[in-house]
């Protein structure tokens, strides 16, 4: 068993929730764009490390999900591919065609998440841009 699998799930889920919620505060994401996610749980799983992070969106903010219900949407990929997506170095459909990104469950939710992330205009942040 890999080391990371032994780590509890909660801290990374909290961290991800905080980061997602920060998106609202900074005006990067409009809440009504995420309306379809209300009450839904999303599980993000890494196939190489065998870790998973689950969050639930309550219509106002994300928080860690620690329950036992099956997630509404599962997104599965490797850590490096998740990073490449986050940094806009990769296109999700490109990864999907080659099976490096698998999305199961409610596909509509997956598209919402993907389109909301794609629409974030990082140039509006007074921070170093992830990639020029």
């Amino acid at each position: 068993m890999k080391l990371l699998q032994l780590l509890p799930e909660a801290p990374p889920a909290h961290a991800l929730s905080l980061a997602l919620n920060a998106g609202f505060c900074l005006g990067l994401v409009a809440r009504n764009d995420l309306e379809p996610l209300s009450g839904k749980t999303v599980s993000i799983e890494t196939t190489d490390l065998g870790t998973r992070v689950r969050v639930v969106y309550d219509g106002i903010r994300f928080r860690a999900y620690l329950g036992s219900a099956p997630p509404d949407l599962t997104i599965r990929s490797t850590v490096s591919d998740f990073l490449a997506l986050a940094l806009r170095r990769e296109d999700q459909d490109t990864l999907f065609f080659t099976r490096r990104l698998v999305m199961t469950g409610d596909t509509e939710l997956g598209l919402v998440v993907k389109n909301v992330l794609d629409a974030i205009d990082w140039s509006r942040l007074p921070l170093p841009r992830p990639r020029s």
């Binding site: 459909d93 065609f97 099976r99 596909t107 598209l111 993907k114």
Partner: protein
């Protein structure tokens, strides 16, 4: 020759402009365009910002209003036309006869492009749109051979735009009710083919399955390349054989035909993919900009480089590329 690139959001528009698109086409966040997907597309503020960004760099913006309005929601489409005129959009892409008529009468200065959804495959049809509505440009459905494209170009004053790269409709655009038959949402009326709400991906013991409203589209063995869950890219059984009965998943790539397009007078090439990410838009636009620049410098010596082909191949559906209807080994 002009390069027309897709944008599903402001970051993609910037990626297109920064990497050399002459035109960027986009849609509003509703059923007025043929990529009506959750979270995708532009609201008014983003449209204004996009137009400003493009115009500051002397590029043009196209608003796609390429679905077929219905009586109850007619005003949504006319308001979108009005919005395009008010926001300084350089041209709109329209398919519906009534909407073309409205735009032509109400905003005579707003340039009109005939959408591929208008299914105009002959110069007779295209010239009709020109005479009646002053259409400046027509996007050809992806069903004509090179010779047929040339014949159209030769017989019309309308600028001709062809698809250069990206996802490929096997059916004549504007003439496909397959998605509507399976799940109710149609490209013509809803602006959606195989919409997310009707699609289910599931890992099963038999493999990764894609379903559209419960209809099994395909089943992929581990490691087998996946395709969009559209009916035309699925595997079905006919006369005892199970195969890609309509078309293998593949992307169109016509980069090697650029000299031919130039010679016959094609005015613009279009990149498909408003549903794809800024990364795709940036990488594909960059390659096509280089190709068109190379073509403009010396059409005689134009050769697609292995780097271009590799960069484009990465993004192809099923990681396969095809010349589509332009060249027809299957003809």
């Amino acid at each position: 020759m002009e390069l027309v690139c897709p944008a599903g959001g402001l970051p993609a528009l910037k990626a297109a402009v920064d990497n050399g698109a002459d035109w960027v086409y986009l849609g509003l966040r509703d059923s007025t365009n043929a990529r009506n997907f959750a979270g995708l597309n532009f609201d008014e503020a983003a449209l204004a910002a996009g137009v400003a960004y493009a115009h500051a760099r002397r590029r043009k913006v196209l608003l796609a209003l390429n679905t077929y309005p219905q009586a109850a929601t007619w005003a949504r489409w006319t308001q979108a036309v009005d919005l395009a005129a008010a926001k300084g959009v350089d041209a709109i892409i329209v398919a519906d006869l009534g909407l073309l008529d409205y735009a032509h009468r109400t905003h005579p200065k707003l340039k009109l492009h005939l959408s591929v959804q208008g299914s105009a495959t002959s110069h007779e049809a295209i010239n009709f749109y020109h005479q009646r509505f002053g259409v400046r440009r027509a996007v050809l459905p992806r069903v004509l051979s090179l010779a047929q494209v040339e014949n159209v170009v030769r017989h019309t004053p309308v600028e001709i735009e062809v698809f250069g790269f990206g996802g490929l409709c096997v059916m004549v655009e504007g003439r496909c009710a397959l998605s509507a038959y399976a799940c109710g949402d149609s490209p013509n009326t809803m602006g959606a083919c195989s919409p997310g709400h009707a699609v289910r991906w599931e890992e099963t013991p038999a493999g990764l399955e894609s379903r559209l409203n419960r209809v099994l589209i395909d089943r992929y063995a581990p490691g087998e390349r996946a395709a969009y869950p559209t009916l035309c890219k699925g595997r079905f059984e006919a006369e005892g054989a199970t195969y890609y009965a309509i078309e293998e998943p593949a992307s169109l790539n016509t980069i090697e035909m650029l000299p031919e397009f130039l010679r016959m007078g094609v005015r613009a090439v279009k990149i498909e993919g408003r549903q794809r990410s800024p990364a795709y838009v940036a990488q594909v636009t960059k390659v096509w900009r280089q190709a068109i620049d190379s073509l403009t410098r010396d059409a005689e010596r134009f050769r697609p480089t292995p780097e271009w082909m590799a960069a484009l191949n990465r993004h192809a559906e099923g990681s396969q590329q095809t010349l589509g209807a332009f060249s027809r080994p299957w003809k």
